[in-house]
Every structure is written in C-alpha cells, then in structure tokens.
Symmetry: C2
Subunit: 207 residues, 2 copies
C-alpha cells in the first residue's frame, strides 16, 4: 500500500481505468476515492481546487499537491515503482513506447472520444453536438482498428514484443468505444482480436 | 553534431518547431531534411514508409528505424542529452512537467488546431469542415489564454519556476494560433505577455 496517497477515480470513466490498470500491473495499491462524473461532482468547487480542469483521475500527494493527467500519473509511478517497466527500458525504447502510446491516444482514443461526445445523448446538454462530425470520427476510429489489426499481425504487443502503457491505452479505448458507441473490433480482425483476448485475460483488466 | 541522425522537418509547421526549439535549448545539432507539407510530400510512399501516419517531425536513426511524435522525439533527446533538463529533474517533477505539457497540448494546442482545420481555406479540400465547430474551438482557445494569464501571475514559467517543454508547447501553439487563425494574446493579459516576451527572446525561438 502506498501510504498517504490517494487517487480520485470514477469506475465508469476510461481515463481513470488507464491508471488503475497501470498500477495493477505494477502491484501498487493506492486508496481510490470515487468522484461521480455522471452526477457532476467533478464540477464542484472542492474538486476544482484539486484539478481546475475538472478531469479525472487526480493523484493527491501527502504534501497537498495534486497531479492530474493519466499519463503524468503513470509516469510518476513508473519512476517510483520501476518494476515491471511499462514505459520503456532505455531512452530509445522509452521514446518508441511514447510514440505508440501517443498514437493510441491521438489516432484511436481521440476519435472514439469525439464520436461519443458528438453523438451520445449523454453529451446533449453539455456541448453543442455536431452529429455528422461525430459520424466521421466514428469512421476514422474504425479505420484505425483495421490499421491496428495489420500492425498486430507482425508483433505481439502494440509497441513491440513487450506489454507497455500503449497496450493499456489501446485496451481502454477499444473497450470504451465498444461499450459506449459500438465501435467494436471487426469480426475479420483476428490479430487485433488475439491481442485483445490476451490483454483482457490479464488480471489487471479487472482493475 | 549528432552523427548519422536526421530529422524530417517542415519549417512552417508547428510540431516540427517544438522539436527544433527543444534541440536548440539542448545545444544538440542534427541534420534537418525538409518535407513540404503544403505540396503533400508527406503523403508520398517514400515518406509514408517512414511514418505511415504522414506526420512530421520524424527522427531517423542510423539503424534505419524511425521515431515519430514530437514529444517522443524530445524524450529520446532528454535521455541522451540530459542537460539542461527540460522534462523534469526527478520522478515527481517529471510527472508535473508532463501534466503541464499535456494541458498545453490538450487545452491549448488542440482547440487551436481544430479551429484552423475547421475554418481555414487551407483545409477546405482536405477534410469536411464544420465552421461553427471551428468557431467554438476558437472561443475555447481564447478562454484558455485567459486561464494561462492567471496562472502566469503566480509563476515564472508554465510548469513552475523552470523553463520546460511545457513552455515550448505553449509558445508554439500561441505563435501558430496568432499567425494562422488570429488567436492572439489579449491586450490585457499582461502576465501571459510577459512570459511570451521572455520565451520569444530566447535564442531557441528562432529555431
């Protein structure tokens, strides 16, 4: 247990799940405090004092400072709990892992998130939705699943032959896209399916 | 000079500038090879073999591997040219720098980029534009400039009291927004202006 440290979390949101999986892979146990995004509790003053942008997760240190942004939180734990390495094993490898993690964010998680925001009734009162734009984002996400399938025909994991944070980002994005906006792995994408079965079978997938 | 390493670059694009400034701050000299984005040379097969996503910059290693994504390239050089540190000095500091760099990307660079793509004639034939969406993104970016001004009333640089990669991201985003879509620092934002004058006066700003 990591003493005096807690993470503000919400079980149903994708970004907090990235950090939960990451920490489960590290074997690091922290205290999680639920903040109900659906009820808007992340927009209350007491939470905005922790993260003025209102996003989850947020790591609270015992000195009263707050660290937001999923990957920044992961980087902190990578530095303090180095084993197993999930963000690269030397400068060059770390750079390639970062490239793949960012590609999963920008090319996959990004369009899935925008498809959700612009087409799902949940966001109807929160933002001005452009349904057609959301539909284009959805097509883009589906196209990237094909790309991932072709990549995974040549390698075991997203960034190469080791499991890394890039796998976590892709796993969370794909599970979230499937549940929320029906952006699912195509039946013919057998390499992507093989990879997804493998990451879903890891104990961390339940985190 | 970093032997046998080159970076595919385009002088007029913002992401390559992030890496050029980062390397200028490190005093690392590399060979730059121009790829004309305006002429679509990044969509040619020979370039897509280097980066299938078509983006710049790309770092070519002497073993024939290619590293894309600006921050991934910066991270490689942070590991191999540690001085001066631009991505944090210990695990906790590195995590906070990453938080601030990501906030500059997600909250500032993101809306500026989408405002450009959805309103600028340059993108008319490249994507389906949603002008109203672009306008909302523009307003969002302007709002974030106000937020940055209030932040910089309390600290010298974006991530605290040292110049970091988060300053580079913000500088490039703001210069690009000003030139391309008229998203400029408001006249009353004197703290943001003070910071911008300071980063613009560094020799790296010309990179």
């Amino acid at each position: 247990m990591v003493d005096d440290m807690k993470i503000y979390d919400f079980k149903l949101a994708p970004n907090p799940r990235r950090v939960r999986i990451f920490l489960a892979e590290k074997g690091a146990e922290v205290t999680y405090v639920q903040v109900d995004l659906f009820a808007g509790h992340n927009r209350r003053t007491e939470f905005l004092e922790k993260n003025p942008l209102g996003g989850l997760p947020v790591l609270e240190f015992d000195d009263g400072t707050y660290l937001a942004e999923s990957v920044a939180i992961c980087r902190y734990f990578e530095g303090t709990f180095p084993e197993p390495p999930l963000m690269g094993i030397n400068p060059k490898d770390a750079a390639f892992v970062e490239m793949w993690n960012r590609r999963m964010e920008l090319e996959l998680f990004g369009p899935i998130g925008r498809a959700l925001q612009h087409t799902h009734p949940m966001f109807k009162d929160r933002i001005k939705q452009f349904q057609e734009f959301g539909g284009i984002q959805r097509e883009q996400a589906l196209k990237q699943l094909e790309w991932l399938d072709s990549l995974l025909a040549q390698r075991e994991f997203i960034a190469g032959d080791r499991y890394t944070i890039a796998d976590i980002t892709a796993q969370v994005a794909i599970d979230f896209g499937g549940e929320m906006v029906g952006i699912s792995i195509p039946a013919h994408a057998r390499h992507l399916k093989r990879w997804h079965d493998a990451v879903a079978a890891r104990p961390s997938a339940k985190a």
